[in-house]
């Protein structure tokens, strides 16, 4: 699988926010077809910044982003959105659209003119709602949903773009264990159809169980990249997170499982 060329390739990108000391320094990663990459790291380590750059929303100060071999900065936004779906960490709607209206907005890059849905678009929208289990609220307005339900709606709008590369910033931060697992299974399913996925998450166990590779960030730099075995090591995590952790094994898969330190402090 490693031989597949990256659908999305981020090459040595750097970034600095205006009037800020913090710096993202020379980061690289590849999102490969059929693979799920988890981007992990402490708060403020630069995960969202990296994802924004990868999605072409923030132009990097150094380095390059290539989407299917083409320079991201030379591509029109609409064309990018036909290939790449990006879910920001937070989405807040200023207006109270219905669920179905919000999800169908994902079809925007595929539509011309005033952007009315064609029958096939309506089918795609419906399937995106079914896969995120939001179909039952289709007629409800966004303000009448719970936080997690709303998160699934915006996820559905990104899926409705039918992207080949999915960049998701903490898509399951508000989801219960069923929807979280279901969502990552959906990502695996999508992976099976040749989609490349990069997902930011704070759930190290989900990353271990469901993702093929992990990229661990700290203070704007990459600490380690590899499979769960290579990245989720007790000393590495303790150092990066500044918190003693206990790495165990999942008895079913043998994959590493990360538990926080004990209430009284670890002996």
């Amino acid at each position: 699988m490693n031989a597949t060329p990256g659908l999305l390739s981020v090459q040595g990108v750097g970034y600095r926010y205006e009037a800020s000391e913090w710096e993202l320094a020379g980061l690289s990663f590849e999102a490969r077809a059929g693979e799920i990459l988890a981007i992990i790291g402490p708060n403020g380590s630069g995960k969202s910044t990296l994802l924004r750059i990868a999605a072409g929303i923030l132009p990097p100060r150094q380095g390059k982003v290539r989407l299917e071999g083409r320079d991201m900065e030379s591509l029109p936004r609409r064309e990018v959105a036909r290939t790449l779906g990006y879910l920001p960490q937070q989405v807040q709607s200023a207006f109270d659209y219905s669920v179905e209206e919000a999800v169908s907005m994902g079809r925007f890059p595929h539509l011309a003119g005033l952007g009315f849905l064609r029958p096939e678009d309506a089918r795609i929208v419906e399937s995106a709602m079914r896969r995120t289990e939001t179909l039952e609220y289709r007629a409800r307005s966004l303000s009448r949903l719970s936080g997690g339900e709303r998160q699934r709606v915006f996820l559905a709008s990104v899926l409705a773009q039918e992207p080949r590369v999915l960049l998701l910033d903490e898509p399951t931060s508000a989801l219960d264990i069923h929807h979280q697992a279901r969502f990552f299974r959906l990502l695996r399913e999508l992976g099976g159809t040749g989609i490349a996925v990069a997902v930011v998450t704070h759930d190290l166990n989900i990353a271990s169980l469901y993702c093929d590779r992990l990229l661990l960030l700290s203070r704007g730099g990459a600490v380690r990249e590899g499979n769960a075995e290579e990245v989720l090591r007790q000393e590495t995590l303790a150092e990066v997170y500044g918190e003693s952790v206990h790495v165990d094994r999942d008895s079913r898969t043998g994959r590493p499982i990360v538990l926080p330190g004990l209430p009284g402090g670890t002996p």
Partner: protein, 336 residues
């Protein structure tokens, strides 16, 4: 309203709002202190009467046309600003355009040396337009970022410019000849009392392309209400949409205010009313706001012209009072 917009529904909804707009255009010119009966007018026309339509065609029709265009523009720009600034209280004057425009107008009215005119433009119109352009430029320079514009700064800069302009206007009024104060007050109330088409014609080349530019942003603006990041993710060229909306609004509002003064409340309440009636899809909200705003202002002006037999009331006074009452009704209705 919960299902995604279809071409069919769009057409229906637009037809209804367009009918209101058209009705205002057809009815309002016939209402006024001087009776202008439609049947009598047609008789005169058929008889080739020389007096035909002098009131109707030279006074009422251009005035109603201006009301339709001005009200429509104010409501449309209000709707656009409420989206790009993500603030339901935004109105066309939020960005300080009117403030600058008012400073220009007040200057023109108080400094006799400014009584220059250029082509078809009066010095009043010209100065208010230049004032608007200066304030827009200032706001733009402040809010400009390497990639696009900061909407928060835009809002703050706009409010600051408005306050600054208010200060300048007070200063000018303080030193001005008291005789001129009346005409200043009159301008600041906003009114549609133009005569003929001469004044309207020259602003159309600014107004019409500006309006077209704004209507074209309707689709992308839906996505901007989900935030800049989600919009960009869906494939919207965020910075460009913001810039075009800013330019389109600037052109159209400067044009309208230079003719009609700062008419308040239309830009705030009409988009709210449209969203209540027809949902949040901007592809409906924008054009419907234009049509309803035009009809609303034409109606308000007709009331202003006819309410008292002795004197006209400036339309800005009517919109502020009627608009305020309606707005409170909308807010009360929302509690249900």
């Amino acid at each position: 309203m919960s299902a995604p917009l279809t071409a069919r529904r769009w057409t229906w909804v637009m037809a209804i709002y367009a009918a209101l707009f058209l009705a205002a255009f057809l009815v309002c010119p016939f209402v006024g202190r001087e009776p202008v009966e439609a049947s009598a007018q047609i008789k005169r026309l058929l008889a080739g009467h020389p007096d035909f339509g002098s009131i109707l065609l030279q006074l009422r029709v251009p005035r109603v046309l201006l009301a339709l265009l001005a009200g429509g523009t104010l409501a449309l720009v209000g709707a656009c600003f409420q989206v790009i600034l993500r603030n339901p209280l935004a109105d066309p004057f939020t960005l300080g355009i009117t403030g600058g425009s008012a400073v220009g107008a007040v200057l023109a009215l108080s400094v006799p040396g400014l009584a220059i005119s250029f082509g078809p433009f009066s010095s009043l119109q010209l100065c208010s337009f230049v004032g608007a352009a200066i304030s827009l430029g200032l706001v733009y320079v402040v809010a400009r970022r390497p990639h696009g514009m900061s909407m928060n700064t835009l809002l703050l800069a706009g409010v600051t410019i408005s306050i600054l302009s208010a200060g300048l206007i007070m200063l000018i009024r303080y030193v001005a000849d008291p005789y001129n104060l009346i005409s200043m007050d009159r301008w600041l109330m906003g009114g549609l009392d133009i005569v003929g088409y001469r004044e309207m014609g020259p602003v159309l080349p600014l107004l019409l392309p500006g309006l077209a530019l704004l209507f074209m942003q309707a689709g992308p603006l839906n996505h901007l209400s989900l935030g800049e990041e989600m919009a960009a993710g869906h494939g919207v060229q965020v910075a460009q949409v913001q810039r075009l909306t800013f330019v389109g609004s600037g052109l159209t509002i400067a044009a309208v205010v230079s003719l009609a003064g700062p008419i308040g409340f239309v830009g705030l309440i009409i988009p709210h009313a449209v969203r209540r009636l027809s949902g949040y899809d901007q592809r409906i909200v924008l054009p419907a706001s234009f049509l309803l705003g035009g009809a609303f202002l034409a109606l308000c002006d007709t009331v202003g012209r006819t309410l008292f037999s002795k004197q006209e009331i400036p339309v800005g006074v009517i919109t502020a009072i009627v608009g305020g009452v309606l707005f409170i009704k909308i807010l009360l209705g929302r509690r249900r």
